[in-house]
């Protein structure tokens, strides 16, 4: 399969590949160049990647490398200039409610309450079903007691959880998260990561998570897709073969983390 990197490495396992399960998301020869009248910027080049059902994949790269563009392409918000993306064998032509994009907390609707936000995508349900769903997801993300609050009355972490709840409420198969915890303080960020893992394990979603935070990617992902600087290509895919909950001081964790640091060309001594 094409998604593997060219440079084999001792810690890269090929189990996922030999799996007969069909890929959920398949990205083939994807390219993206933004053109304006006077200039053109090549953002993505030759991206090949497969994401399997229920997998948690982090896309890791330096700021401005084009990883958000990649996620927006997979989300169907923009169209690629080359290659194609298929999900469940179906070509992506636009956004779809089976796959919800979670922006940084800025994506919650400030004119709706917590309840209103969660109910936003539920317009096809009866009001009874709506209520049950709202209650369930308010509880899941720990916002009980805040049902009637407006986003401006919530903290950054609460808004982020609200957006995740809104996404989960429509029961999507895939979640796209674009640096969702980037705007949070470091303590809240750590809490949110374990929350997300808990939700992921409970709800069995496929997750594509964009981040520039190496530690974050190693803590969360089944596989980390390391990108190069622009035009972004896949530099390497690292399998994180540590079961959850992960011990952040275990030798394996440190080994994997350091190998990515090295890969990106950073000595992580401060």
């Amino acid at each position: 399969m094409k998604s593997r990197d060219e440079k084999p490495s001792s810690f890269l396992l090929d189990e996922k590949q030999s799996k007969t399960s069909r890929a959920k998301v398949q990205i083939r020869d994807l390219a993206m160049t933004f053109r304006s009248d006077s200039s053109s910027v090549e953002v993505l080049r030759n991206i090949n990647l497969e994401v399997f059902p229920g997998e948690f994949v982090c896309i890791l790269g330096p700021s401005g490398c084009g990883k958000s563009t990649l996620l927006n392409l997979v989300g169907g918000f923009i169209q690629p200039t080359g290659g194609e993306i298929t999900i469940d064998g179906e070509r992506v032509t636009g956004p779809d409610r089976r796959r919800i994009f979670v922006f940084q907390e800025r994506g919650v609707f400030p004119w709706l309450t917590v309840e209103g936000n969660i109910a936003f995508g539920l317009f096809n349900l009866s009001s009874r079903e709506k209520e049950t769903t709202i209650r369930r997801y308010v509880q899941l993300v720990g916002l009980s007691g805040f049902e009637k609050a407006y986003p401006q009355e919530l903290s950054g972490g609460m808004k982020q959880r609200l957006e995740v709840a809104r996404a989960l409420a429509v029961n999507p198969d895939v979640l796209y998260l674009d640096e969702p915890f980037g705007a949070l303080d470091s303590i809240t960020r750590l809490l949110m990561r374990s929350e997300l893992l808990r939700i992921w394990e409970a709800e069995k979603k496929t997750i594509l998570f964009v981040t520039h935070d190496i530690e974050e990617s190693v803590q969360l992902a089944d596989r980390v897709v390391v990108m190069t600087a622009r035009p972004a290509q896949i530099r390497r895919i690292v399998e994180i073969d540590i079961p959850h909950p992960r011990d952040l001081s275990s030798p394996r964790y440190i080994e994997l983390r350091d190998s990515i640091f090295e890969e990106i060309g950073l000595a992580h001594k401060v």
Partner: protein
């Protein structure tokens, strides 16, 4: 010397103005005129914003339409509603309709521009989130675009109401026989009653303040308050 000699006629004293207002009250003119002015402003304003908002939202969303009409809008915008008085009389004759037309004009253009800008200022992130949940065009308009532009729209409505009220005097200069603008013009023409002129001005000022205060309360609604606080 000259100033003391004429002070009584140049600017009426507050007391004279108050007694002027008292006189208007006694004659039952105060409420009649106030209601007459509010009636014209209400109609002109509601027609103006009622047409401007849908058109502005439509043009804000339909780029080609905006490109086509924007030059015309920008040319019409700097023309004072007062300049329209002759045309208004030509089209609608002297009377209420002409006055309402002037107030309509004064409300329509600012609200049109505000609505267009407010649509442009809706964050793409909200729009994309709406699309992601599978909303159709109509649902996007109702569920995302309108609520997202509401804070800016309310500010526009408030400022536009101020402008509409500002034009009431001019609108009532066109041969109508009631209203606060009429009161001012008539008090001067029929006997230089400057106490009543200033009384009319004071009433316009106070009413304008009351209108603005009412509109400001809309900004306190919980569903729009987010638009006025920087986070």
């Amino acid at each position: 010397m000259a100033i003391t000699a004429f002070s009584g006629t140049l600017v009426p004293s507050p007391l004279q103005v108050l007694s002027g207002i008292g006189e208007l009250l006694r004659k039952g003119l105060l409420f009649r005129y106030l209601v007459a002015s509010l009636f014209r402003v209400t109609w002109g304003y509601l027609l103006g914003v009622g047409l401007a908002i849908p058109l502005g939202v439509g043009l804000g969303l339909w780029r080609r339409g905006e490109l086509a009409l924007n030059p015309l809008i920008q040319i019409l915008r700097p023309i004072s509603p007062l300049a329209w008085i002759p045309i208004a009389i030509l089209w609608f004759g002297v009377g209420d309709v002409s006055g309402i037309f002037l107030i309509f004009l004064a409300s329509f253009l600012p609200m049109l521009v505000t609505s267009m800008t407010a649509v442009h200022n809706v964050e793409a992130i909200y729009f994309n989130a709406g699309r992601n949940f599978g909303l159709n065009r109509w649902q996007l308009l109702r569920g995302i675009i309108l609520p997202a532009m509401m804070p800016e729209l309310i500010v526009g409505l408030r400022i536009t109401l101020g402008i509409a009220w500002l034009v009431v005097v001019a609108a009532e200069m066109i041969a109508v026989s009631s209203g606060l603008g009429f009161l001012i013009v008539e008090s001067r023409n029929a006997g230089n009653r400057y106490d009543l002129v200033v009384a009319g001005m004071a009433l316009i000022g106070v009413t304008g303040l009351a209108l603005d205060w009412t509109m400001r309360r809309l900004e306190k609604l919980r569903a729009v308050r987010w638009g006025y606080v920087s986070s």
